[in-house]
Amino acid sequence: MANNSSVENTAIKELLFQLADDDFIHSYRGSEWLGLAPHIEEDIATSSITQDTMGHAAIFYQLLEELGEGNANQLAHDRPANERRNAIILELVNGPGSYMEQPDYDWAFAVVRNYFYTEAKAIKIQSLQSSSYEPLAEVAAKVQMELYYHLMHWKTWFVQLLGSGHEEAVSRMKAAIEKTLQDFQGVFSLGEHRNKIVQQGLIESEAVLLTKWNQAVAPVLKSVGLEGPIEVGMAQGDGRNGKHTEDLEKALETLCEVYASNKAASW
């Protein structure tokens, strides 16, 4: 019996780390747009969405804390890159340069990544509401309501830029779509424990989630004249298994700087 429940817990924790780490790094990349978004209203919108998303990461870390994985703050700030389970596409930098010096960030990449990810998250959150792990199903019901506005926001940008007829906007968006899809499969990966995660009824399978995502995204692409199959890949590997890029290392260095300066401080 004890053995059984520890196997169950392994799968639950694994899935929670994936959800938490995805939202955590995604929110961090969003926060890097503060003051840099195309206009003031967008600055507010991006920041608000980013704050919501950090709240989602925090509650997933909280669920891990309740399962005895350690303090939520420590889980967010004090784990090396090779222990992180986030999808690689979410950790990639917003563009050349850095926040402090000459950020030459790509808004097209931001819009595509944000829209694709938010759509994928909405599908997972939908599935999680039927999760066999009750605390996760409860959280998912709450996240879904907040996500409604995020999805509407990014879909609007996505359609407007691609449907603008503006040459630079369209070509940059197309390039961003290509770049994002190359690694987007990683968002659907459930990692090495995928079979246990699905068998325990924690979430639907990778294939089901990906199909639903395709069904959600295809009509939107079609509405702006982009048809044909949507092929996703994992060109740079599977982040769920601890494989990451230098971009994550650098992001962790920056975002953990204050925490690492005094780990015992209370905020």
Binding site: I44, A45, D52, K142
Partner: protein, 165 residues
């Protein structure tokens, strides 16, 4: 041993003084955030629903609830817990809460949302329906920014949060 028995009515009365830290004309009771008050001897437990998961006001609210409830001399312990379920929805805001929001220049969330997800809000100052949405996202997670074309005032509105979303 205290001879005075605590009642939940007393606690609810105190909670009327705990305002939203960012909207000081509305209590957390009128926002519909208080799900339950339990009393066990001289210990009080207050269960609260977060409006938005990432709302930075939550720890402040927790502290303010503790301070308010401890004002009763017969209270020994106070625990404040944020519940995951049920989800807070904007239709939990009371009529008094809606009036308090308007005093602050914030329109209450719309009663009805159309099937296509669209909703309508009136100006909290002049009641005009001639308004435009400037930004669905606002200065806090729960608020949107609008503009009244009649009285030329910018204003905010509570974002609707309902189950079908």
């Amino acid at each position: 041993m205290s001879a005075v028995l605590l009642t939940s009515e007393e606690i609810y009365k105190l909670l009327e003084n705990v305002k939203d830290p960012e909207i000081n004309t509305v209590s957390i009771l009128d926002l519909g955030m208080v799900e339950n008050v339990e009393i066990s001897g001289s210990d009080v437990s207050v269960k609260i629903l977060p409006t938005f998961l990432g709302c930075p006001a939550l720890p402040i609210i927790q502290k303010n609830v503790e301070t308010a409830v401890k004002q009763l001399p017969s209270v020994e312990g106070v625990s404040v817990e944020f519940l995951r379920s049920p989800s807070w929805t904007s239709d939990r805001i009371t009529e008094k809460g809606k009036a308090g929001l308007k005093v602050f220049g914030i329109s209450p969330p719309p009663r009805q949302i159309k099937e296509d997800g669209s909703w309508h809000i009136d100006c909290p100052y002049c009641e005009s329906t001639y308004v435009t949405m400037e930004n669905i996202f606002g200065p806090t997670a729960c608020r949107s920014i609008l503009y009244c074309k009649s009285c030329k005032n910018p204003f905010e509105a509570m974002k609707p949060m309902i189950k079908f979303m």
